[in-house]
Symmetry: C2
Subunit: 331 residues, 2 copies
């Protein structure tokens, strides 16, 4: 295992220390318990947005803390859910009195620990609503989930709900728009290589030099099936088809197309995937109205990519376009 790390047990802490120092204008990092909060006081009347999950998916979630997106992020150990005692103070820090929306990716541990933290918040008379992101069409249940997994579509949920909160929507409205994104976003991914969890020290699964895993999750858990290595176009076809079918996209609809890198894939290859995904959507009469290409929801140094499609409507487009100022997403 070759990684730019010191003691693997310190990896998350040292990453957060570096992140906090590099982005002190945007965030404040707390280390014990670990959570990342938007710099400054929460704005009175604004709904607070909190997300979190295992580390190893950077820039998710801390990279999305800032204006127009999250108010706090809670990083667990690598590929491990954050604990309720981390999540509860993040809720408190994000709450200006207008309530908090928790955006949770659908993994059993995340869902349980966020639920416990919500119960703790209710004891303090804090109002917390929850949405669960489950955009991965690859598998119905998995090693770590009942139901579908939450993967790269999370970026769209956090961006759009963040914009709704920023413009002053109340908790019910922010929750509703987050759920509308969840209902209209689907993702499918592929792994070319496995990744290695630092404190484990060996790859999470095995792939030979001539096979790839279609429908991979973001923790190295199994996908749909291993298939022989193929061209970018052939692989992209296998990602786009189930996404489009599951969404039931019709000709003339507008979408956001997100091609997300898993961490170790050059951006040049992501644009080759984007090119094909866009062409496939165009063939079906689907209009790619917005695009995002890059590393947003990763699996450490895994090579691979995922394709996410979000069905847009005028309000979702407007919220996507609204200003955002975070470490990893800014316009």
């Amino acid at each position: 295992m070759k990684k730019l790390l010191n003691d693997p047990q310190d990896a998350v802490k040292e990453t957060l220390e570096g992140f906090g120092a590099a982005h002190a204008d945007l965030v404040t990092v707390h280390l014990d318990p670990a959570y990342v909060v938007r710099a400054g006081e929460p704005r009175a009347g604004k709904v607070g947005l909190v997300s979190g999950g295992g580390s190893g998916h950077e820039p998710l979630h801390a990279g999305f803390v800032g204006l127009g997106m999250l108010d706090a992020a809670v990083p667990g150990a690598v590929f491990t859910s954050p604990t309720p005692d981390q999540i509860a103070p993040a809720f408190e820090a994000a709450d200006s009195g207008a309530g908090v929306l928790a955006i949770v990716k659908n993994y059993t541990g995340d869902v349980l620990n966020f639920e416990t933290a919500v119960e703790l918040a209710e004891i303090d008379d804090r109002q917390v609503a929850t949405v669960v992101v489950n955009d991965d069409v690859a598998v119905e249940d998995s090693l770590y989930t009942a139901g579908r997994r939450g993967v790269a579509g999370t970026v769209a949920v956090e961006k759009i709900a963040g914009a709704a909160a920023e413009r002053g929507d109340d908790l019910a409205a922010v929750t509703a728009v987050a759920q509308r994104v969840i209902d209209n976003v689907r993702t499918m991914g592929v792994a070319l290589t496995a990744c290695t969890v630092p404190h484990v020290g060996k790859p999470s699964f095995d792939l030979t030099d001539d096979e790839i895993e279609i429908g991979i999750g973001i923790h190295g858990e199994p996908g749909r099936h291993k298939v022989p290595m193929a061209s970018a176009d052939e692989i992209t076809d296998q990602l786009v088809a189930p996404v489009v079918e599951d969404l039931g996209l019709a000709s003339g609809e507008e979408v956001l197309l997100l091609v997300n890198g898993m961490g170790g894939t050059p951006s040049s290859e992501l644009y080759v995937v984007y090119r094909r995904a866009r062409a496939l959507l165009s063939e079906r009469g689907v209009v790619v109205a917005r695009s995002l290409v890059g590393n947003y929801v990763t699996s450490l140094e895994m090579q691979g990519a995922s394709v996410t499609v979000l069905r847009l409507d005028p309000e979702l487009t407007e919220l996507w376009d609204a200003p955002v100022h975070t470490a990893a997403l800014r316009w």
Copy 2:
């Protein structure tokens, strides 16, 4: 070799097609010959900025075309200089009549081909000045250069010269500020793994599981020496020390600290390197006034990182802070 590509011979073309479609609001992509131009007409009176070089270093240079940075970028084949017949039309497209600054990384092929393109431009009475970026302190000469190589410091040159051009500086002034950045920026890199050029199909050099290459260039060419794998802090020490010494930084000076990923390294590890680099600078009394952490000048899927330090002065800081709106850098 596992890559998300189709025919390796089409890799650059298909990347450009995807890039152009995803960023049609920012750029126009020409394919034959290949160059990328800022969308819209060049603004009358504004000096045009053009850079280019081999592909495989994305987002450099096309990812930096847009407001406040480059007017055109010229991508060669992977790790291969662009040709004069690509560069000349990019000069033309970038020229509003106020002249063009060519920003060239110091590789023999790049320097020669840009020189030829400048001669072609002069035949057309086009005024083109040139600066050569040579920030890599690792080696004095290398496989592909006489003198030092141009690496990640190029981002700072393009950003700051771009801001000077955007505010209306004339060609002499933009050239002077670009040269001032070059005179005050230094970089040193490390490779943990090699990268594979698509049309070659095998890694550019050999590294065993327990060794790394200090002072690597961005084409897989040799660095200073192979050393045993070490901790992130120990490796960072070996990158920062020669940079600081070469710059002759004194206590109290302000710098920009750029930790650049080589393409295959997770951002979490880059922040661990940033944390240590910043601590080392602080120990010497050097103030990290600005920071940038991410994949900006890459070597395909190589794992590794480089540390760049730019000595700031009030004008360079102001130009760094000026608005930029490109695919890869935006604020």
